[in-house]
């Protein structure tokens, strides 16, 4: 999860939600994700996911 998805992948995800960001929007999002995703990955290591059904 740590590396930000490519602009094409982000666009695909956005389209599934009915959202049409520009290329500039996606680059700005990738800059945020580049900082956030490694931090969230670290957090997931501290808080193990709850098993399904719990």
């Amino acid at each position: 999860m740590a590396a930000p998805p490519s602009p094409a992948e982000l666009r695909r995800i956005a389209e599934t939600q009915g959202i049409a960001p520009t290329d500039e929007d996606l680059e700005a999002v990738r800059a945020f994700l580049a900082v956030l995703l490694p931090a969230f990955e670290e957090l997931e290591r501290l808080v193990p996911p709850t098993p399904a059904g719990e």
């Binding site: 939600q17 959202i19 700005a28 999002v29 956030l36 957090l43 808080v47």
Partner: protein, 467 residues
Amino acid sequence: MSLARLAAALLAGELSPREAVERYLRRIEAIDPVVNAYITVRAEEALAEADALLRSDDRGPLWGVPIALKDVIDVAGTPTTAASRILADHVPAEDSHVVTLLRRAGAVVLGKLNLHEFAYGALTTSPHFGPARNPWSPERICGGSSGGSGAAVAADLAAGTLGTDTAGSIRIPSCHCGATGLRPSTGRVSNRGVVPVAPTFDTVGPIARTAEDCALLLGAVAGHDAGDPASVDAPVPPYGELLSAGAGGLRIGVVTSLLEDADPDVAAAVETALGEIRSLGAELVPIAPPLLEQAGTIQQAMQFREAAAGHIEWLRTRLPEYGADVRARLLVGIFLPPRVYETGRQARAAALEELRRVFDGVDLLAAPTMPVLPPPIGSETVELRGRETLYRLALIPYNSPWSLVGSPVASVPCGLVEGLPVGLALVGPHLGEATVLRAAHAFQQATDWHERRPALATPDAERAAPR
């Protein structure tokens, strides 16, 4: 004049509500073209409300006091823009719950204040309404998101204000503008009729001159609201009566890591303030609360998703109408995997337990409100201990831990560095606003930092106004 002194003068008949409103309208006309604190000035409505007060015998604690509100707080018949283009023409039909309570206390609503678009950022540089400028140095930011509230207090453009705080939005502008602000405990003040950011963390609170002013405002708006599912059903203490207990006997944990990581001059000002509090009889102990490094990540794991969820329809239909930074921040929320939110929720539950346990050993925590001085408008970075750092990242460790656990936090002016204000953060246990305000008031009884005013706010500026 502080809000408390003005309220006393009004109740004593030394001036009328109309005279109080007219005084602020003159100052707004003279000074706000520079500061840009206001989005909407309710001149005619405020004068009519002031006159209407004379037709009733009711005299609440804020009788005739002109209050201004961050422009996410609904006032019936007045636009709530959230400093956005999307809501530029939105006129609510009903007052928010806090406005209902302010009116019950006798306050007059003077106007609506500038903010970071949709309260989702700390700069208050809305591309739609222009930046709010710091009265201490107009080329610098006020902080945010309640930047207009901080600026209005610093420039004396309202007797008091309400802001909102999700991750620092009351504390940051209070600090940068030399005002006293209080983020109340989550749930202490109703959010009904307030544009949300992330409901788990959102709270309405006062920004004013003094802790005594904040106590008056909080006393007026605090309390359970059955119409807000996040509202806490707990007794509201008589904040004003509890102020005078002093700092003697308080045990205050000083968060040393936040002092060590702050700009050295900022840290020195805060350490001097802490020495003053010790001289008032408080015991200071060094403390290292758990999860300080992770708190920002935990809050963001929840906040990004909650904020995006609240905007999803506009993201689909009006995306280009957001400012670029808020648009990117909201879009981030739709790209995060759902498990990130769940991880954040679980981590927050653990953090609540761990961080709240800190208060078993101390009455309050203390730290710098912000590690840096406000940067120039247009700059997104600050220099911190020799390193160029993103401003929005520098503020997180100083604000998110307390938002995460829903603690009350006051920011109290405690010094000037390069002519710019520095703030001392006093953090209390959940629902411990009375102790926070008591310590802040004791400090302000012994110091005069809260009375310092920027040159722009001097009486000369008011006299320059056309009559």
